[in-house]
Symmetry: C3
Subunit: 147 residues, 3 copies
């Protein structure tokens, strides 16, 4: 399902297999395991779980917009609530007037793109090679499956 | 309630009538039917449903930030989890350094504004007239009512 | 926990004490009371509440990305669903090509940063000193605690 990446405005499309479904009343939490062993968690409505016919072992893509990804540094002393946390290095950085676009690569080879404010880029002193953690909430993850 | 559109920073303000309320524990899912027949779904806290005194048939406005809207093309072969999906054509496109602002119009006349990365604009090869699907999650929809 | 503010890409980091936990099935709603009396509400997964060992009276930081904050004016006649609503004045405004960065200060001294479209800046006629309400959903709030 790698071609799916080319079909949405978000580069953050992570194909994998559904490895857990935690059911709620309105929302279910879905665990998607990527080929490299990384896990991405999404929260979608129960009716979406049914519409997509999600089940353990099935293929699915987790998608998140770059605007939903926050970056942090020196997080060792903190616990942060969101389940999707990826440590990596900045491999690309584009500065706009208001926002910066930051590409991160994890040790496991995963790439994530975050759009943060230029103010944030400056305060975190980000540059190519900087160590950083990418954070995003399960609520901000979309899930897609092939029909 | 059309004047409401001018009072938030988001152009994506959709006035309509509440046509369904699906109650959860912490969150309720609200269906708002627009005059043109389109439906927008929002997920708000139960306490908000009560504060707003939402009930079937009442007027309400669904609001979503342009940063929360993802765009996709060639989605025919996929099922995507989010309930808010609108097919349309690009009618306006502004390119910044990092982001692009894309206005879409559906066949039913609905207009939506999405802020996506310039990278996304380029990969999807968006231009005026391009066919595109706008996607946003119920969790990212705010709901407002007149007092 | 004020030093935490410097370690994420978001300036919107609000240290305080947990004053209420409303449990759900998948998500819990957490109320964080700031030193100045303001309250910020976040919705995190139940498992995150446990991982962070959140309990009443404990210190915690609520964090929200500037892209998640919507601005509105003349809201007196409306009820809006989101629990996080802060009235204030624009104290700084940076215009990009597509987006604008708006800093707001409340009467209680709280500062919030919103990234909205330039289109939104113009339609709301924002400038330094403008009265504005900053709105963000509980679903978009991350919570962090010191280990």
């Amino acid at each position: 399902m790698k071609d799916f990446i080319m079909k949405t405005s978000s580069r953050n499309s992570f194909p994998g297999k559904v490895t857990a479904i935690l059911p709620g009343v309105i929302n279910d939490e879905i665990e998607i395991s990527l080929e490299n062993g990384d896990k991405v968690y999404g929260q979608i409505t129960r009716s979406a779980t049914e519409k997509l016919k999600l089940s353990k072992g099935g293929e699915a893509v987790a998608i998140v917009k770059s605007t939903e990804i926050m970056l942090a540094t020196e997080t060792e002393d903190y616990e942060i609530s969101c389940k999707n946390q990826f440590s990596g290095k900045v491999i690309k950085l584009v500065r706009g007037f208001v926002n910066g676009q930051v590409r991160i690569q994890t040790a496991s080879g995963l790439e994530l793109n975050a759009t943060i404010t230029l103010d944030g880029v400056n305060r975190l002193k980000l540059e190519r090679g900087s160590n950083v953690v990418a954070l995003f909430k399960t609520a901000n993850v979309l899930i897609a499956v092939k029909k």
